[in-house]
Symmetry: C2
Subunit: 145 residues, 2 copies
């Protein structure tokens, strides 16, 4: 498979904003149907491995070790794309997921619904109406306000 | 709008596993088309407000203040569902998004592609094949292996 240039990978990793523990959360999404499968953590080395091997690598905070998704379960993730958010402190990894993503056997880890009021935008038109206010510039360091 | 029972909300919040700073990451996903819009942070109070008001509330780590999405930008998020992951340490909030989610004016905050090798599952069948190995139980504290 084609490899990205090592310098491009190093630059991409260097451009991320890791937290005080040297980590960023990575949201893993099914590339085929958009299901959010799981969230796990990557340090710079796990990002580098994910970008260069076609498989997802994470850092386990509890075990303090790298893990490659599927090595224990067989339920591998094959990278389709990786994107950083506007603050560079979170990754979105789109994958081809083999089998269930969750160790509980479910497709996604997000299977515990919480009781929530359901909101609706004014007019209830499904969010397609224009914003009621003119967006203005936001303070630095806030990706979404 | 119907309100969830206060005890149910308190129980749901009490069941979450907040980090050392008292926070969980919240992945916000467009309920209509599955786009992952942003990731932000919630403490217990922000979760409680999100569950009970129909709007998304977050805790700003940089400003050390609560913020309700859209109060600055007008680009509000109306809650459709909230789920915790299997470890209870991450939330998935599905919303009706009004306008762009990102302060840069893009629909999603995840607009910065990183150079990545594209992986493929053996056989290339799009992840529909059964797992090549029998899943076995996983160590506690790891949601997805």
């Amino acid at each position: 498979m084609p490899q990205p240039q090592p310098d491009a990978v190093a630059d991409a990793v260097a451009g991320l904003n890791f937290d005080a523990a040297g980590l960023v959360p990575a949201v893993v999404q099914d590339d085929a149907d958009g299901t959010v499968l799981m969230v796990a953590w990557m340090d710079a080395e796990a990002v580098r491995r994910t970008l260069t091997t076609g498989r997802t690598w994470f850092w386990s905070r509890s075990r303090r070790a790298y893990w490659r998704k599927g090595d224990t379960s067989g339920h591998t993730q094959h990278v389709r794309s990786v994107a950083a958010d506007c603050d560079g402190d979170t990754l979105l990894v789109r994958v081809e997921q083999v089998g269930p993503a969750c160790h509980l056997g479910t497709r996604s880890c997000f299977e515990a619904p919480l009781p929530a009021v359901r909101g609706s935008a004014p007019g209830g038109s499904g969010g397609l109406e224009p914003s009621p206010r003119t967006p203005r510039s936001e303070p630095a360091g806030e990706g979404a306000r």
